[in-house]
């Protein structure tokens, strides 16, 4: 047991030092970085464990944002130094990572990307009065932890409503089933929001069934689908588990419409296989083709920096927005004091991000953030329509 704990602690430290080492030279390389001690911001995400593949794209986004911030003069007259800490893809790991960030006396924290990781972090950081901005954690309760907690994405209550409306009004689905990940509060809550809204619209929910986040065999869920024969199946899980479920269901002859939440990501096609996607939709925070000026800039900057012609992972613009918004707030505060940064974040109005315009409400949620629905087609995803709160 001691060995295991020691290994975990080593992994945590290793994750910290590896990325710590990666970011500093980059920050130092920019010609306009202010001299003197840097302003330290922690970025907590999954570098190891089940969420690592899902979270990885955010690292490049953070790297690009830090380079741009430092090239533009840093924050409050200092260079921005990003300290990346591994949350080990677990709630307890996320709590330990947040405690580590507090020990490091960071000015603010960005992360995590999953709600189950962000919630324990929020509790630790609120207690220490350290501002937190989560890029993609959509569980409604997270900013309600306290006044230091913010996010740049929409909430699951809104997302559940959007998917239910799209399913009922646009797809004319009347009988649906929801299969959710029992290890993720996000998944259960989004499923509940979808079910509640579907029932209110007049739809019929033939059943809900959970599965474990680490599952690789979905035969029980597929048997459930065969028994209930729904017109649509809502799977509010993450890329890996949802992808495997859809893939196995399609292979077993389930031809119902599949719908997913923001956590599917466009990369789910790689797990399912484009030939098995069938009629499949998902909701998202963003689409590569949106014409916000900052999105156009980000796509160009990302292409120049990483040589990637097109990125379509929504974690990239949301992480980028979270860091840019934090830098904007620190500059407006003119101070690295936690209370000053928190006040500046709360006062954010009309911040132009790559994912839209961000103004925070009293809870720390963005006001009027749209959700879009896309359909997978021929290995890509086509924007269908957006919904406003």
């Amino acid at each position: 047991m001691c060995n295991r704990t020691a290994t975990t602690a080593m992994t945590l430290l290793l994750g910290f030092w590896i990325v710590f080492g990666v970011f500093l030279p980059r920050c130092g390389a920019a010609s306009t970085v202010p001299a003197g001690p840097a302003a330290r911001v922690a970025f907590i995400l999954a570098l190891t464990g089940i969420a690592a593949d899902d979270n990885r794209p955010a690292i490049d986004a953070a790297r690009l944002a830090v380079e741009e911030i430092n090239a533009a003069g840093g924050v409050a007259g200092r260079a921005l130094e990003l300290v990346t800490i591994d949350n080990l893809s677990t709630p307890i790991g996320a709590k330990a990572a947040a405690e580590r960030a507090v020990d490091l006396e960071v000015s603010a924290v960005i992360g995590a990307l999953w709600s189950s990781h962000s919630l324990p972090m929020a509790k630790v950081l609120q207690k220490a009065a350290v501002p937190l901005i989560t890029p993609t954690a959509s569980m409604p309760e997270i900013p309600l932890v306290g006044d230091c907690i913010f996010r740049v994405c929409f909430t699951d209550s809104f997302q559940g409503l959007v998917i239910a409306r799209f399913c009922y009004n646009d797809l004319k689905v009347r009988k649906a089933v929801s299969l959710y990940n029992v290890n993720e509060e996000y998944s259960q809550r989004l499923s509940e929001h979808f079910v509640t809204n579907s029932l209110q619209l007049g739809g019929q929910i033939l059943g809900q069934l959970g599965y474990k986040g680490s599952a690789i065999d979905f035969s029980e869920q597929i048997a459930f689908l065969k028994k209930t024969s729904p017109e649509a199946v809502f799977v509010p899980g993450y890329t890996r588990d949802s992808g495997l479920l859809v893939r196995q269901a399609r292979k077993m002859g389930i031809d119902a419409i599949f719908l997913g939440g923001d956590s599917w990501g466009s990369h789910i096609q790689e797990v399912v296989g484009p030939e098995l996607m069938g009629e499949t939709y998902f909701s998202s925070f963003w689409h590569p083709d949106v014409r916000f000026p900052r999105n156009v800039h980000l796509k160009q900057a990302y292409r120049d920096r990483f040589g990637v012609d097109r990125f379509d992972d929504m974690r990239i613009p949301l992480t980028y927005d979270a860091l840019m918004l934090l830098a904007d707030a620190i500059n407006r505060a003119g101070s690295l004091e936690h209370s000053a940064i928190r006040s500046a974040l709360a006062a954010t109005r009309q911040f132009q991000g790559a994912t839209g315009t961000i103004s925070f409400d009293v809870n720390g949620d963005p006001i009027n953030k749209e959700a879009s629905i896309s359909r997978f087609e021929n290995g890509s995803w086509r924007f269908l329509r957006s919904f406003s709160p």
Binding site: R4, T8, A9, T90, G93, L119, E185
Partner: protein, 202 residues
């Protein structure tokens, strides 16, 4: 008279031999069954420990994050292991959080929680006359204690196995004694005593 005396001597010798054999059997049988029982308990302890270690991280996070369905699923997976009768999870105060057994393992008192600081406990218990072994451990991860877990293992099969071994040895001893008595009563009389008596009479 002589005949009867020789026969009595033979039977006394048989009884003495039987007593010696029974003693020899006992000296082998008792340590043997004890060793077998201890080996079985060690195997069960190792099994429980391995199952616990395999699920520790998942269960710890499920307790910590309040994921009731996931916790129930993890505990159900442990219960699927052959011989496991109940899995019970307790909070930091040792109070019952969730159990998939009937009855659930009793709450963990302060003294037990103190002992669990030094590692897991493995004890034999009886419930309604049925034998069980109970593995109890604290659930710690990244320096964080989130609760306690008890795995109750049904020892009925092990007890039955030990009883069958004992029965086998006792039957073997009984059969040996019976055969020995018969053979030693019939053979010496027919082969030695009667010819000797006939020879003497002649």
């Amino acid at each position: 008279m002589t005949h009867r005396s020789i026969r009595l001597d033979i039977n006394l010798a048989i009884l003495a031999t039987c007593a010696l054999i029974a003693l020899s059997f006992s000296t082998i049988l008792i340590p043997y069954t004890q060793t077998r029982r201890q080996v079985a308990l060690d195997r069960i302890e190792t099994l429980c420990s391995a199952v616990f270690q395999q699920k520790r991280e998942a269960i710890a996070n499920e307790i910590f994050a309040g994921q009731q369905l996931a916790l129930a699923s993890s505990m159900h997976e442990i219960r699927q292991v052959k011989g496991v009768d109940a899995v019970t999870v307790f909070d930091l105060q040792g109070d019952l959080l969730y159990s998939n057994g009937d009855p659930p393992s009793p709450d963990i008192d302060v003294a037990q929680r103190e002992r669990l600081k030094n590692g897991h406990l493995f004890t034999r218990i009886q419930i309604d006359g049925r034998p069980f072994a109970e593995f109890t451990s604290a659930i710690d991860i990244i320096g964080e204690r989130v609760g306690f877990l008890a795995v109750r293992f049904d020892l009925a099969e092990e007890e039955r196995d030990a009883f069958q071994t004992m029965l086998f040895f006792v039957s073997l001893l009984g059969a040996t004694l019976l055969v020995t008595s018969l053979v030693l009563n019939i053979l010496p009389v027919g082969v030695v005593v009667r010819p000797a008596r006939l020879l003497g009479d002649a």
